[in-house]
């Protein structure tokens, strides 16, 4: 899932401005593949352990001193509309933990901060059985 230029990104009580990219990647951290006696191809595969990685790229200016702390856990909220229109809007919500903050400086793109987070499933919501990311349609 990829959101370009989301209209709003919040992490707990903080508002992250000038976000250019919000990407959600799914990674299988444990993959099972099983073969049978009848041929060379797997007959069963599953992904019982997986990780949802959220990556946020933010343009930072002179006020870029306040970076999120590693290990912080908050609810991430992002709102977007198709092609930035005033049409129907979607809100993405995920409980996330900050796992990385990196900065990049270039003449062409200026100063960029990349924040990496892992989305976690609520402990009370089936002990990891529910998708940590939800997307709902909201009024613009």
């Amino acid at each position: 899932m990829l959101l370009l230029n989301p209209r709003m990104v919040r992490f707990g009580g903080e508002v992250w401005t000038d976000v250019t990219v919000l990407a959600i990647d799914r990674v299988g951290t444990r993959v099972i593949a099983e073969w049978g006696d009848q041929g060379p191809h797997p007959v069963f595969a599953d992904v019982p352990e997986r990780k949802t990685v959220v990556r946020i790229v933010q343009e930072v200016g002179a006020g870029g001193l306040r970076a999120p702390a590693l290990g912080d856990e908050q609810e991430l909220t992002a709102r977007t509309t198709p092609a930035g229109s005033d049409g129907e809007a979607y809100e993405l919500r995920a409980r996330c933990v900050v796992t990385g903050v990196a900065h990049e400086l270039s003449v062409r793109r200026g100063a960029l901060r990349t924040i990496e987070l892992i989305a976690v499933s609520a402990a009370g919501g089936g002990g990891g059985g529910t998708d940590p990311v939800s997307v709902v349609r909201v009024n613009p």
Binding site: W35, G36, D37, Q38, F44, D46, V47, P48, G129
Partner: protein, 123 residues
């Protein structure tokens, strides 16, 4: 379809059959107290057939019922029956002597657990 005593125990998931060593049990003479440094044949090895695979269920309770269906076949003393693999090869008079599960139940698209089941042809 594989079966043991006519029951499909392992068909919920992938599984493979392996036949253990065959031949003569040979014991060093010093173990038997026999003279000399050689060894003595004492009779044929009991053949094991090992089934390794993964049980699956769409729910945890369905997976438990499949694990229980296997466990109920583990009797003491064992009662021998016919074991048949997916290719139709059969082994008569096999006793189900062991069932060992993997270190975790997995929950992905389905619930599943790896296992190793051992059948022995007692002599």
């Amino acid at each position: 379809m594989s079966s043991y005593k006519g029951v499909d125990l392992f068909g919920s998931g992938p599984h493979r059959f392996a036949v253990g060593p065959r031949g003569e049990r040979v014991v060093p003479n010093y173990v038997l107290g026999a003279p000399g440094s050689g060894s003595t044949p004492t009779g044929p090895i009991e053949v094991d057939v090992v089934v390794r695979g993964r049980l699956t269920g769409s729910t945890l309770s369905q997976l438990w019922s499949r694990r229980d269906a296997i466990a109920v076949q583990l009797t003491s003393p064992p009662v021998a029956g016919t074991l048949i693999d997916e290719g139709g090869r059969s082994w008569a008079d096999m006793s189900f002597i062991g069932f060992e599960e993997g270190d975790r139940v997995e929950r992905g698209r389905v619930w599943s657990v790896a296992y190793r089941a051992v059948f022995r042809g007692f002599i």
